[in-house]
């Protein structure tokens, strides 16, 4: 608080001095080696070259030979101090950076405009959420991580300075140029997040540049296009706009970019801040104590023009160290040279600024010529596992729930609720809908302009309609308006809050409003997880939306279901993915199995889930994550056991109870004293399995033996290696049927119907089967047949219906099932062997 008071006083009193803070990034420059290097370079430069160190032209890297020609002109001839590239590919950036550094007399300071990551200027590189999304993040440590990660990517790409963060406090919702680029309208949050990000960048060896001093947040015009005025009083400037810059300076951070904004309350001469000595020097340096590097915003912008004045010379006179992106860099160097010769700019100004630039070059490691950047593997290094973790964490932490009536979120009652998703302004299939499907059954619709009447009617039958909005087009607004009164409407916005505001008229009846800010793969995933409880939700609205929600709104929600993230995010090495791929790949190649699914979860999140190979032979389809597998004995623990646990939980039996207490058929068979524990532990004395064939085949249709170890003329049905069945054997018709009848209503295989008498016969055989000599551990399927039998007798419900209703479906497990579909059923030919 004291600091605030002092700062306000300082602003009011031109002679006050805030006390300078040396930027931390210069800590390695306070030594003889740095001084020697700066001296020797400075002394080796001509007067013109010293001026040129302050000039950072902007070059298009995507013009091939003409890009190289421009670089050659500015770097070799002009000997400029640094460069800024406009948009291009990674290949172009690397090629042009390597070329430029190779011909520079003094290594170039490569600067970059990367407010939301390299992707802002370099195609197909990591794209981070916008600052507006990050303005919702409660934990500034995540912004530090982002800065560190961005620094790593900059260094890999040969960049030493990032023109970020934007720390403008976006207090004007109609601001046409800042908006989503800002952390929002709460100066304290903008400040905390901006400082954390910058600290990360600079700890990672890249100079941050807070912009656009003294604050571009409350403007309704774009300084790229026209003269832009901020009418805040000195007091408001100090309380709001300057706060993030002040905190940035006091945190010892190194770069500030001055904007082309006219602030009459600080300088009434109509000069934009970038050309104003009162702002760039008296306020920034003298009163706020900034000792770092001062960059102008791009001087080619219209907002930097002053009638009859050379804006480069004016910027220099105002206090800038670096003249960024002027329209005519070569002319600028000459003009400044002439101005120095004419005594309009003192030589000491040039010396101070040049030495400062050189000292920063040393701090950024540019006292040595940078190593050539290799393209080989660069893309993979940029898209590292660490990058994925940071992207996921930022996206998840930004999700903001603005409304959640009757706690409709996270969506519940998955066993009963009918859920529709309407993708508005996107196609039906994307990673948002894909991830929603992993939680439960959802029906997906999509529209860009309108929904057909039939769909509108259909949507009224759902308990929940999730409307996911991907843009603010008129079409999208019409679609949301058409379902605004859908029952259980949950809205999810993959657009910034100002764009969301345009939908306010359709939000009156929405039960929930979820703001995901950006349409990125990571924000889509985070939004899907948020509505199903796969992540903790903690985002806070970074701006005021008077018709929707006030600044700071954010309903917290606790993670309650599995989420999706990367191995690295849960303490597993990223190489796990390669290890699994390689082992599975070897298995597929050796023919050990035709396909598979692998799932690994840790800490409540699925970190690996992949389907490999095919369902069966060459021509069978590829397996997907929704392919169902025959679990075989895994059924004991996923089907039978959950049912038994539920029956136990309900108090229907005790583990020490005799199974015969509940299964009358066991009484008097020598199994009276088998306990339920013994069945579960496989210590009951039951033999391992029941040989079904002698029981199921009609003994009058074959001559004993039914099965032989070797194939012969009468035994040609292969059951498995070393088991050949009698060719003539036919199924018993007293306990099976070739057609569906009242007595045989269950289709066990194509053309094979069974019924209660079949089941009773089999269970009867199990009850009466002779026990082994002792009850040492022997794994037996029959133990679990008895457990299921007991459970059904205790609950009075068919097991498949019981476990589905009581366990599986409430979890949202909608695929797991007994008897999935008749299509998979085994096909006996006629009434012969089931396995034939």
């Amino acid at each position: 608080m004291l600091k605030r008071v002092l700062a306000v006083l300082a602003l009011a009193c031109a002679t006050a001095y805030a006390g300078a803070v040396t930027p931390t990034i210069l800590k390695n420059t306070d030594n003889p080696d740095c001084r020697r290097w700066v001296d020797s370079v400075y002394n080796s430069l001509s007067e013109r070259e010293r001026i040129a160190q302050l000039i950072f032209p902007k070059i298009a890297p995507n013009q091939g030979a003409s890009s190289r020609a421009a670089i050659k002109k500015y770097v070799e001839t002009g000997k400029v101090g640094g460069l800024l590239f406009s948009s291009g590919t990674l290949e172009q950036y690397v090629e042009m950076t390597n070329y430029a550094q190779s011909i520079a007399k003094v290594p170039l300071m490569m600067t970059f405009d990367g407010e939301w990551g390299l992707d802002m200027r370099i195609k197909n590189t990591p794209h981070f959420p916008s600052n507006m999304a990050l303005g919702a993040v409660s934990n500034p440590d995540l912004l530090y991580d982002y800065g560190r990660e961005m620094a790593r990517q900059c260094r890999l790409t040969g960049i030493q300075v990032n023109y970020a963060p934007v720390v403008d406090v976006n207090s004007n919702p109609a601001n046409p140029v800042i908006g989503f680029r800002s952390f929002g309208e709460d100066p304290a949050r903008v400040s905390a997040l901006g400082v954390a990000y910058s600290r990360g960048l600079e700890d990672g060896g890249v100079l941050s540049t807070a912009k656009h001093f003294p604050g571009h947040g409350d403007t309704s015009t774009d300084s790229h296009k026209e003269r832009t005025i901020v009418t805040h009083s000195a007091q408001v400037m100090d309380d709001i706009d300057l706060m993030p810059f002040r905190d940035y300076i006091n945190a010892g951070l190194g770069g500030i970019m001055v904007g082309h904004i006219v602030v009459p309350s600080i300088d009434d001469s109509a000069r934009p801040a970038s050309l104003s000595h009162k702002i760039s020097t008296e306020l920034l340096r003298d009163r706020m104590g900034f000792e770092g590097l001062v960059f102008t915003d791009a001087l080619s912008m219209k907002g930097a023009r002053m009638q009859g004045l050379n804006s480069t010379i004016e910027a220099l006179k105002a206090g800038a160290d670096v003249i960024e992106s002027s329209s005519a860099p070569m002319q600028d160097i000459s003009d400044i040279y002439q101005a120095v010769k004419a005594g309009k700019i003192s030589e000491s100004v040039i010396e101070d600024r040049c030495r400062r630039v050189l000292r920063y070059k040393y701090a950024l490691g540019l006292n040595n010529r940078p190593a050539k950047i290799s393209l080989a593997g660069l893309r993979a290094k940029l898209n590292s596992p660490r990058c994925a973790v940071v992207l996921d964490e930022l996206a998840q932490a930004s999700i903001t729930v603005l409304r959640n009536e009757q706690d409709i979120l996270p969506l519940g009652k998955l066993d009963k609720s009918r859920i529709a998703i309407v993708n508005i302004g996107a196609s039906a299939e994307n990673n948002f809908t894909d991830l929603c499907r992993r939680y439960t059954n959802v029906d997906v619709f999509a529209a860009r302009h309108n929904l057909p009447a039939t769909t509108l009617k259909k949507l009224r039958d759902y308990d929940v309609v999730v409307a996911a909005v991907y843009n603010d087009s008129t079409g999208s607004r019409n679609v949301l308006a058409s379902i605004a009164d859908a029952p259980g409407l949950v809205t999810v916005f993959m657009v910034n809050p100002y764009k969301m505001n345009k939908f306010h008229a359709s939000l009156g009846k929405a039960r929930a409003i979820v703001l995901a800010y950006d349409d990125l793969p990571q924000t889509r995933a985070a939004a899907a997880m948020a509505i199903f409880g796969g992540i903790d939700v903690s985002g806070k609205l970074p701006v005021n939306l008077p018709r929707i929600a006030p600044l700071g709104t954010g309903i917290r929600m606790q993670k309650s279901r599995l989420g999706y993230t990367t191995p690295e995010a849960r303490g597993l090495r990223a190489s796990l993915t390669d290890s699994i791929d390689s082992i599975v790949g070897a298995g597929l190649r050796s023919g050990a199995f035709p396909g598979c699914q692998v799932l690994i979860a840790r800490g409540g999140d699925i970190v690996f889930e992949k389907a490999y190979g095919k369902k069966g032979g060459e021509n069978s389809g590829k397996v997907t994550l929704s392919t169902l597998y025959d679990l075989a004995s895994v059924s004991k623990a996923t089907g039978t056991l959950p049912g038994i646990m539920k029956a136990y939980d309900t108090g229907l039996f005790r583990l020490e109870d005799f199974a015969s207490s509940y299964i009358p058929g066991l009484r008097g068979t020598g199994k009276d004293s088998i306990t339920i524990s013994q069945l579960l532990y496989h210590e009951s004395g039951m033999p391992p399995a029941l040989n079904m064939f002698p029981l199921m085949m009609d003994s009058t249709t074959y001559k004993s033996p039914l099965i032989k170890r070797r194939r012969d003329a009468a035994h040609t049905i292969k059951i498995q290696n070393g088991a050949w069945g009698a060719t003539s054997a036919r199924l018993r018709r007293d306990i099976t049927s070739a057609q569906r009848t009242d007595a045989f209503p269950i289709e066990a295989a194509k053309g094979l119907w069974v019924g209660q008498s079949t089941i009773d016969t089999i269970m009867g055989r199990i009850y009466n089967i002779p026990l082994r000599k002792n009850n040492n551990y022997t794994y037996s399927c029959l133990n679990f047949c008895l457990l299921l039998d007991m459970e059904q007798r205790l609950t009075g419900r068919p097991h498949d219906e019981y476990v589905a209703a009581e366990i599986w479906r409430p979890l949202g497990a909608q695929h797991i099932t007994y008897r999935p579909t008749l299509r998979h059923l085994p096909s006996p030919s006629g009434d012969t062997w089931l396995c034939a």
Partner: protein, 147 residues
């Protein structure tokens, strides 16, 4: 989307619902069940089992053999015989299936591992699968990757 192969005649003649076999699933649904156990019976808004019941069934082990109460467990005293990788502690529970399927839950490391396959293709005698020892080998990778 379903590959069904008769591997268990008992389950088939019982009409598909049998105590020993008969469940079909993808890995995602098995994971929900496993996470429910890890959460002590809760998942999402659903409480399907009480926490003491989950604790009893997931923590009990036979005093005389490696088995849990319905779950299979590592044989930490006889690693040669253990159904899983040597790295799995005594707290691990899960089950194997003849079709090559398996799941393991490690409550100490908060890990779920699920591998589903149809190794009975082309025949149930497909021996390449067992030779590859793929299930313990895959599960081992999870432990090896812990940072």
């Amino acid at each position: 989307m379903i590959h069904g192969y008769v591997h268990d005649e008992t389950a088939d003649f019982l009409g598909g619902v049998s105590g020993n076999a008969g469940v079909f699933s993808n890995a995602g649904d098995v994971a929900k069940l496993c996470q429910m156990w890890l959460n002590g019976g809760k998942y999402g808004d659903a409480t399907v089992l009480s926490s003491p019941t989950v604790e009893l069934f997931t923590k009990s082990k036979s005093p005389t053999c490696r088995r849990g109460l319905g779950f299979d467990k590592p044989d930490t005293e006889n690693l040669e015989n253990s159904p899983t990788c040597d790295e799995a502690s005594a707290a691990v529970y899960g089950h194997l299936g003849f079709t090559g399927t398996v799941f393991w839950v490690d409550p100490e490391q908060d890990i779920i591992f699920i591998f589903l396959t149809n190794r009975v293709y082309p025949t149930r005698d497909n021996s390449a699968f067992n030779k590859a020892n793929i299930r313990p080998e895959l599960f081992r990778q999870v432990y090896k990757s812990i940072i």
